[in-house]
């Protein structure tokens, strides 16, 4: 069994279970009949139906990955290490740094770290450091000014 097919199989099972669970949960929603509401406008109606559709799609995918019908291409392999580093940096910035440090500072730290980590091997510590610091300062100032002064939106 190819990797893509195994992925399809697992996802199909997950999707079917998710669809069924969604339908059950929608079924359990109150119909609000005691409020004198038309039963046809019950909140669970649409999500319940969508749950059924998702379960059916999941079953179709399941049947296909078991039966060996036509298949799409396998997803390309790649640098999972690079991905992990990028993911950790992004999550650390958005979910960790922001809100604790002023926006411009958090942004500068994130941009500098991200750029440095990914360029240091090719460019060497000095050039990578200089490049990342310049970019970080420029981005922090430009984004803060643009959004706070021109677009008048609040920054995290």
């Amino acid at each position: 069994m190819s990797g893509a097919r195994r992925a399809d199989l697992v996802f199909a099972v997950l999707l079917t279970v998710f669809g069924i669970a969604a339908t059950v949960e929608s079924w359990r929603m109150p119909t609000l009949a005691e409020l004198g509401v038309d039963p046809m406008s019950a909140p669970g109606l649409t999500p319940g139906l969508l749950g059924v559709v998702l379960a059916v799609l999941g079953l179709a995918l399941l049947g296909r990955s078991l039966g060996g019908g036509e298949m799409g291409e396998t997803a390309a392999a790649g640098g999972w290490g690079r991905l992990a580093v990028a993911l950790v940096l992004c999550l650390g910035y958005a979910a960790g740094l922001l809100g604790r440090v002023p926006f411009w500072a958090a942004t500068a730290i994130f941009v500098a770290l991200f750029t440095f980590v990914f360029t240091v091997r090719e460019a060497g510590p000095v050039r990578a450091g200089a490049g990342s610091l310049v970019l970080a300062a420029a981005v922090a100032v430009a984004v803060t000014l643009l959004f706070e002064r021109v677009f008048l939106v609040r920054l995290p």
Partner: protein
């Protein structure tokens, strides 16, 4: 050209401080959350108000539309923001007295300081092709339970009006809800619903154009609609006394934690600037609304009968999670 550069400059910098000396000088833009879609009654009057406030405060006032759940989502967001005077909510303050009752949100009218601007009245209007020539026909059909009424959703002013009408004449109706007053009015024009009980201001344009036939205004006085004529009051057709259905509009801010100088500043603006604000006056005249500025306790006193009427009308319809008595709302 000069004018244009001025606009450009204005886009980049806060408005120049041309304001009178108020105890509070905001140093960044103020946000007013409109908990309904753009283009609706609340949105329009709030944007006009915002313009007047900008002039008075010398600071930008930004409008953010956060519709959903009968206006409670946006107001909730305003309440959850910092209570520093920079985040306000807009809408019909009477809803603040009924969210708790309906089990939608645990807030209370006295948690907020109210600043009213205009008052609107609901209007019963039907699609011209619907088989109702007069209000009497409509009442007869409602007694048989055969009418479809479009409103802006549970708890909206149109819904309260429809419930009050039902309470007075009996019978029932099929309640069809839309995302706001405007869509509800349009659905009636398109013929999906037969009638609407939304505010006169939301219907004025369609009435003028003959796309909606107004039958009665839910108030005790006739309503003059510019370009159409006079709409008779519901009291001409029904003997039972209808609750108060007018809806005051305005902006409001959480009381707790908001700096006193913010309150003082807005109180001053509402006593000096708002009563003479030409844009608001013009808006009210064109829309068939009443210009009723009031702040703080005076505003609350004006809104309170509306809360009472709504609360007991919801209670009669069986929509409440508790008795209005428990919240200290006496029967009107």
């Amino acid at each position: 050209m000069k004018k244009l550069f001025a606009i450009l400059a204005a886009a980049m910098l806060p408005v120049a401080a041309s304001a009178a000396d108020y105890p509070w000088m905001p140093d960044k833009p103020i946000t007013i959350i409109v908990p309904w879609g753009a283009g609706g009654a609340t949105d329009q009057v709030t944007r006009v108000t915002a313009g007047v406030l900008e002039d008075a405060l010398g600071q930008k006032v930004v409008i953010v539309n956060q519709p959903g759940a009968s206006g409670s989502i946006g107001k909730k967001n305003a309440y959850e923001a910092e209570h520093d005077g920079y985040t306000w909510a807009a809408g019909a303050p009477k809803q603040l007295g009924t969210y708790k009752l309906l089990g939608q949100w645990d807030t209370w009218i006295d948690d907020w300081r109210l600043y009213n601007t205009v008052t609107n009245v609901p209007l019963v209007a039907v699609n011209p092709n619907a088989p109702y020539a007069t209000m009497d026909d409509f009442i007869a059909a409602m007694k048989d339970g055969g009418v479809t009424i479009a409103t802006a959703g549970a708890g909206s002013s149109g819904h309260a009006a429809a419930e009050a009408l039902k309470g007075a004449v009996g019978g029932s109706y099929k309640h069809v809800t839309y995302d706001g007053g405007n869509p509800a009015v349009v659905a009636t024009v398109a013929g999906e619903a037969e009638a609407t009980t939304q505010l006169a201001s939301e219907q004025a344009e369609m009435v003028r154009a003959g796309r909606l036939k107004p039958l009665a205004v839910l108030a005790d006085q006739p309503l003059e609609i510019d370009g159409y004529g006079t709409v008779p009051p519901i009291t001409d057709f029904v003997d039972e006394k209808l609750p108060i259905l007018s809806t005051a509009f305005g902006i409001f801010i959480p009381v707790k934690g908001t700096p006193p100088e913010v309150i003082e500043t807005f109180d001053a603006i509402w006593s000096e600037v708002i009563p003479n604000a030409a844009p608001l006056k013009t808006y009210a005249l064109e829309k068939g609304a009443l210009f009723t500025p009031a702040a703080g306790d005076a505003a609350r006193d004006k809104v309170w009968p509306e809360v009472q009427a709504d609360a007991w009308s919801f209670d009669a319809a069986g929509r409440t999670k508790m008795s209005p008595d428990e919240l200290g709302i006496p029967k009107p």
